[in-house]
């Protein structure tokens, strides 16, 4: 089937856990690219993208990227911490916004977002 050209993906594994915040909560981790779906990262390339964790104790949980560097990702606090994240957990980050819309879909009109899956 034709891949959806409007969805970009980044797959990787957790290389190291980041520094916890003053309350002991974890929102940041270092990543290493894994698999065919990734690319060299620049700062905040993935900002606003959806991250789904594909293994470990956070399996199937969704977070939103608050920001990234070349080697580190920080998730948004709104979805809670990633305290149970472990080194080597794998994840996929997709260019899908918080409303479920593809972030690179062509605009169909002022104020409208593409419906996912349509």
């Amino acid at each position: 089937m034709a891949p959806d050209p409007t969805i970009r993906r980044y797959t990787g594994a957790v290389a190291a856990l980041g520094r916890r915040d003053p309350e002991g909560k974890l929102y940041t981790f270092k990543l290493s690219p894994l698999g065919p779906r990734n690319f060299p990262l620049s700062r905040d390339d993935l900002r606003g993208w959806r991250m789904t964790i594909l293994s470990g104790r956070h399996f199937g949980e969704v977070y939103w990227v608050n920001g990234n560097t070349e080697s580190e990702v920080t998730v948004h606090r709104d979805n809670g911490p990633i305290d149970a994240l472990d080194v080597r957990d794998v994840f996929i980050i997709e260019s899908i916004d918080a409303n479920g819309a593809s972030m690179f879909a062509p605009k169909t009109g002022a104020g409208s977002a593409a419906s996912p899956g349509v």
């Binding site: 698999g35 199937g60 918080a98």
Partner: protein
């Protein structure tokens, strides 16, 4: 006046909460279903919606997938290697149920479905094939999740292309 302002503020706050709840409800994902066929249909719907988490929530953690001649031995491997492809395929195609049979008893059930699948390949050529699907579902905590799925097709060319694609995919995570 002061009271009106407070009432207005409270009304706005209630409206914001209501909108927030409505948005949350629309984004809430299925986590298994009470009826086996509903779990299968919800899985396909999650693929069409590009909703990775919803799709994962319908999978048993002991999932094994046989997909067009390729094995994904764990839910993690399937999620990493083939779920993105299936999401793209679902978005680019239409799956119409031709036939469905359900069976099993107790906490283990099966759903056998044939689909007429139409769409476009990456090169723009049309897809028009029959996909055969076997789903085995297991009930835990009152909800059915998919513990095995097996897809095959009557289109030998598509089956071969799927296998080539799978071989080119990344190695599964070491964990």
């Amino acid at each position: 006046m002061q009271s009106d302002r407070k009432t207005g503020r409270a009304g706005r706050a209630r409206a914001i909460v209501a909108i927030g709840l409505a948005m949350f409800a629309s984004l809430a994902w299925p986590q298994g279903q009470r009826i086996p066929a509903d779990a299968v249909d919800a899985f396909h719907q999650a693929l069409r919606n590009k909703d990775t988490a919803a799709a994962l929530s319908l999978l048993d953690r002991e999932l094994v997938v046989f997909e067009f001649g390729v094995v994904d031995p764990t839910a993690e491997v399937y999620a990493f290697q083939h779920l993105p492809f299936d999401i793209d395929a679902a978005a680019a195609s239409t799956w119409n149920i031709e036939n469905r049979r359900v069976g099993g008893e107790g906490d283990v059930r099966w759903v056998l479905t044939t689909y007429h699948v139409t769409g476009r390949r990456g090169d723009g050529s049309p897809v028009d094939l029959m996909t055969l699907e076997t789903m085995i579902l297991r009930r835990t905590s009152g909800l059915f999740r998919i513990v095995h799925m097996h897809w095959s097709t009557n289109d030998a060319q598509f089956q071969a292309a799927s296998q080539r694609g799978a071989r080119q995919a990344a190695a599964p995570p070491a964990k």
